[in-house]
């Protein structure tokens, strides 16, 4: 088992969001600025590592018929712990993230990796897979957030990058970045860029055009 590959694969080549179409549910509301996106990415990664490890460790004894329910229970418990921890140590960010921490339970990446990887692989590999997917997800989230924050308010991680309108005539805050639609477009553009770079990720046509058509 090539552990390094398990870890690095999901970052670009097999990125959960852009290739596997998983887990974008939270990519809109939490990417208005970088800091909430970062906290969200950490939370998802932590939950992923826990759930993958737990499911992998228990895969021998989990009965098939209630497997899904047990997985959701494990994931939900991890999310509760994460949510409580966030409320304790980062209450402002926790309010910004509001319901989206709870929605990690239904985040397709978490359940998806548990079902497709952790059930069939050892504990160490599953742990790394969880970490890798978390990083891949986090990278995408942070990229979107960086663009939205930079052009939406001229800051990155709350540090001013562009001088604000009052001081300079160059930068005017782009209000479009505050809208959910901007996240969609940015993700679409990122996917386009990614697939132009790695053509093997391009989807096949849904049909076959006639030659010379």
């Amino acid at each position: 088992m090539r552990y390094r590959q398990v870890l690095t694969d999901p970052i670009i080549d097999n990125n959960p969001v852009t290739l596997q179409i998983l887990g974008i549910c939270s990519a809109v509301a939490v990417t208005r600025s970088m800091w909430p996106a970062f906290v969200m990415a950490i939370s998802v990664t932590a939950v992923l590592m826990f759930s993958n490890t737990a499911v992998s460790a228990l895969r021998g004894i989990m009965p098939r018929s209630v497997r899904l329910v047990l997985e959701v229970t494990l994931i939900a418990s991890a999310v509760i712990v994460a949510d409580e921890a966030l409320q304790a140590y980062a209450p402002e960010t926790s309010k910004t993230l509001s319901v989206f921490v709870g929605l990690i339970i239904t985040n397709c990446i978490v359940l998806g990796r548990a079902e497709s990887f952790a059930l069939n692989n050892g504990v160490r590999a599953s742990f790394l897979d969880g970490l890798g997917n978390g990083i891949g997800y986090g990278l995408l989230l942070l990229s979107v957030a960086a663009v939205r924050e930079l052009f939406g308010s001229g800051t990155l991680m709350d540090q001013p990058v562009f001088a604000q309108t009052a001081d300079s005539a160059i930068f005017v805050a782009n209000e479009f970045m505050a809208l959910p639609a901007s996240a969609f477009f940015i993700i679409g553009l990122i996917i386009w860029a990614l697939r132009s770079w790695k053509p093997d990720q391009v989807e096949a046509r849904e049909f076959d055009a006639e030659d010379g058509g």
């Binding site: 208005r32 009965p63 209630v66 229970t73 494990l74 712990v81 921890a85 409320q87 304790a88 309010k95």
Partner: protein, 264 residues
């Protein structure tokens, strides 16, 4: 011989075991984090109160020590709103007025025609924060809250020593629509509250929402936020409620008639 994986006994036993482990994990973490959460929440509350009082600048990052230090500059008193006077209390700062509002013994029902903040009931006593200069009150910070579009909006209004002029409004918590309603927290809009007055010629005049062009027309005018009408109305209504007769009105009247010692 071990039970087969799909036998009911096995299913039950495994599920029960996992359930127990998860319960312990969750309960333990909640028990562990609760006190930290209270401390964090208290920190945020105090920070907003200090920001309203002008002792902390808006985006200033502060530590617990700074907050505790600067809190010393404020005197906390418990006020009986109907009587318009201060009352003695053990620990005014920790008086849970939101909880008191739900207890019949500690709250009063707000008459329908006054209930513009849609609260139903309010606590009889409210903690207020005073920044003293010598013997006179320089600034008074009042906790306020009311219904917005979607959620309860909580904040603090600071009035200057004439008890008429608003020095600042700080929004502490809200659940309004992100990107639209949450503009009630934006510095630009909150800055327009500075200097507004809710009284003229000695009597109470409620604040009014106006469109941008007429913002400076009267001291009671508050600029509307485009696309966030209901959220704006929520904030203005709650301000008008608490600054009016059914809220802090009687207290403010008492204090402005006795510019010296706050009644002990």
């Amino acid at each position: 011989m071990a039970a087969e994986p799909e036998s009911p006994l096995r299913i039950f036993a495994t599920s029960a075991a996992i359930a127990v482990v998860c319960s312990v994990m969750v309960s333990a973490s909640v028990a562990y984090f609760r006190p930290i959460q209270f401390a964090s929440a208290a920190f945020e509350t105090n920070r907003d109160i200090l920001e309203a009082a002008g002792l902390i600048r808006r985006n200033e990052t502060v530590t617990l020590r700074t907050v505790t230090e600067r809190l010393e500059h404020l005197e906390v008193r418990l006020a009986d709103l109907e009587a318009g006077a201060f009352v003695a209390g053990d620990d005014p700062a920790s008086y849970d007025f939101m909880k008191a509002a739900t207890e019949p013994a500690n709250s009063i029902e707000i008459p329908a025609q006054h209930d513009i903040a849609k609260l139903g009931r309010r606590s009889k006593l409210m903690p207020v924060y005073l920044a003293m200069e010598g013997d006179s009150i320089q600034t008074i910070v009042l906790p306020v809250y009311g219904k917005g579009m979607w959620s309860l909006i909580e904040g603090y209004i600071a009035l200057s020593g004439d008890f008429l002029t608003i020095e600042s409004l700080v929004i502490h918590e809200h659940g309004e629509t992100p990107g639209i309603g949450d503009r009630i927290e934006s510095s630009d809009w909150l800055d327009t509250w500075r200097g507004r007055q809710f009284a003229a010629d000695g009597h109470y005049v409620p604040l009014k929402i106006v469109t941008a062009a007429k913002t400076d027309a009267t001291p009671q005018a508050i600029d509307a936020i485009t696309g966030a009408t209901v959220s704006t109305e929520g904030v203005v209504s709650l301000a008008n409620f608490w600054l009016g007769e059914a809220g802090y009105g009687p207290l403010l009247r008492t204090l402005s008639n006795n510019p010296g010692q706050p009644q002990r």
